[in-house]
Symmetry: C2
Subunit: 392 residues, 2 copies
């Protein structure tokens, strides 16, 4: 496998985009990433687009072809990939795979979702397609319900965690305040979280990520391509993709031995640490899939950056803050930045690249190595990526 | 790139499957392909699933994970790909890419769709997501309407073709009669075609493929894997994938300079002929994307097996029949076999493999080299594959 670099990234803000179509959002992100990368459009050999509910909420499929056309790319393979909330991460991994395997020298990954125009019940119905209709469909559970169960199971194992879990929200909402792309940054207290509207007991409004529109994109290139372009002035610092892993977990609730851990995450990080020789202790920051406050707790343990059963404690003790031992979601995460589902995995890449280039609004000092983690459905699909500043 | 072989194929019948879920259909096809290939499930390194409207018509996404789980595959990357009617072909190409690039030694591609339970208006609405909602959505055109326009343009260029186009239908319906997997094989006359119900002028009922349920799958393996398994008795004759190409065409109607040709097909076949050194004159048969009778005419010219403007004539003169110069759709094609959208590209692979193994119900004598062609949307996505009997 060849070395792969992220030469450029682009992103719309996450939030409500009533004046842009789903195609336009994605094209905007791709164009921004291409400008940032300063590569010729004609060099592009593949485009992958992550999207989850575009068909249901906007009536638009074949998005990969539409976006490749809109971005004036050549007649290249243009493929939509779907793995629920991990769709964006899967798009990134496939662009990486194409360059790493030598299929092409330049590949683009883009993720997009447009949801805010639809009614909440329609959005909930669409998102629930990420469950197994046959085995879990009749339970009446939506995703807040599922993560509410995970919260309860974690609580039964480790005792009362309400106040500690609120610390996750307080941290991420605070981080989001400085992120110009974030939808829901806010200065909130633990009490604000705990007093917010009950959504699916015990999860409250601030425990849940919002409904978002948005798109993010990345341009991945080979070393050969880098060599050609390195003379260009103003070229951004390079970031290498040390590894990109995609795994599958149980697609239904009873397939998990415990709701306190997602096997797809555990397996994906095991593989990427083995592949790269980098361990959780070597990471300078993590952007992980905090679709709910409790999800950040579980993910941080599954990834291995917090000890098992201590994820909520670490958040509460400030160890996952921007100046902590292992900053988690300095972008604000899904809770504050927003969760335009198919875009999220690439939004994380965008944030990680900004960190590794040293120009993030919530910059981690000397950030050289970061991990992104994107999880879909009931833990059915997971992607993780290890990114490192090329001069580190 | 490494050599890639199709070690096994499996398929459900195409038609109405009221007693099977979309997941079950796909799992059945995968299990059949694995049995046929006689590979260990644990050797599988990737699964790609082609599906188009599963979310909208069955409320089920994350199908790749569900099917990998149902087929008891390991925790491998399991990815749904979508490119409208070309989704199955895109899945096949990605499985091929994984093995060709050395990512894994065994990859599975499966395509599936379940549509027959939904109302015709709901199906039409879902299929129309393959158009560009912004540019063509307000035209009121559905796909029969679009191909009706293509028919009219072809007619204005080459004169009255009604009777010749009917020959496409008569041939494919006849071929379908002997295919046990076909939904709509029938002995029909040109008069039957021309007297059938008007759908979108000038297209009549028999000019249009039916609404179908079904799934088909293929197991692709490397040479190394073949070497390990070749001692197994009863192992099926090998078929090599000489090339697999995916292209992008215009995603909206006015993006085409003429509706009598799809640029994505022209470009895909140009690439695959160049890649393999095999030309249209070397093909023993073609399975192509005859979603409508006129589509077979256009495709046969775009692929280069019939001279431009002569596709309808060739069908009428019997040159594309099973015993003709270039048999087209000996399976019955989409018109007679059916068109479970996401499954179609893999259904074509299934049919081609049977031909190349010499055990097709409509066997082409000494078939050694075949091409499959799968086209999506308004020509926005195309995949073509060149398959050859390994001992040829």
């Amino acid at each position: 496998m060849r070395q792969v670099f992220v030469a450029g990234v682009g992103s719309t803000s996450f939030g409500e985009h009533h004046d842009s179509s789903i195609t336009e959002l994605a094209v905007d992100a791709v164009n921004a990433a291409i400008s940032d990368a300063r590569v010729d459009r004609d060099r592009t050999g593949a485009l992958y687009l992550g999207n989850f509910v575009g068909g249901q909420l906007t009536g638009q499929e074949v998005l990969a072809g539409l976006v490749a056309d809109g971005a004036r790319l050549p007649s290249i393979p243009s493929t939509k990939v779907e793995g629920a909330c991990a769709s964006g991460g899967i798009a990134f991994r496939h662009a990486w795979l194409n360059v790493a395997a030598g299929i092409c020298d330049v590949a683009i990954a883009v993720g997009v979702e447009k949801m805010s125009h639809a009614t909440t019940s329609k959005v909930t119905e669409a998102l629930n397609c990420a469950m197994d209709m046959e085995r879990d469909g009749t339970s009446g559970l939506s995703f807040p319900g599922l993560f509410g169960l995970a919260y309860r199971m974690y609580e039964s194992k480790y005792g009362d965690i309400r106040n500690k879990v609120s610390s996750v929200v307080v941290k991420n909402k605070h981080n989001g305040l400085s992120n110009p792309l974030a939808q829901m940054g806010a200065a909130v207290s633990a009490m604000d979280v705990e007093d917010s509207m009950l959504i699916a007991d015990p999860l409250r409004l601030y425990d849940c990520c919002p409904i978002s529109d948005g798109a993010a994109a990345a341009v991945l290139v080979s070393e050969e391509c880098i060599a050609e372009h390195s003379h260009r002035s103003g070229y951004q610092p390079l970031v290498e993709v040390l590894g990109s892993v995609q795994t599958r977990g149980a697609p239904f609730i009873s397939g998990h031995s415990s709701l306190c851990s997602f096997q797809a995450t555990v397996e994906a990080t095991r593989q990427i640490y083995e592949m790269t020789g980098i361990g959780p202790q070597d990471l300078d920051f993590v952007e992980l899939h905090d679709c709910f406050s409790i999800a950040e707790v579980l993910d941080s343990e599954d990834i291995g950056v917090c000890p098992r059963g201590r994820g909520a404690d670490w958040a509460h003790e400030g160890r996952t803050g921007i100046d902590g031992e292992i900053p988690i979601n300095p972008s604000g995460g899904l809770l504050a930045k927003g969760h335009p589902v198919g875009a999220t995995g690439l939004g994380q890449i965008y944030e990680a690249i900004c960190q590794l280039r040293g120009n993030h609004p919530n910059q981690i000092k000397d950030a050289a190595t970061g991990l992104t983690h994107n999880l879909g459905g009931t833990g059915v699909a997971c992607t993780v990526n290890l990114l490192r500043r090329a001069d580190a």
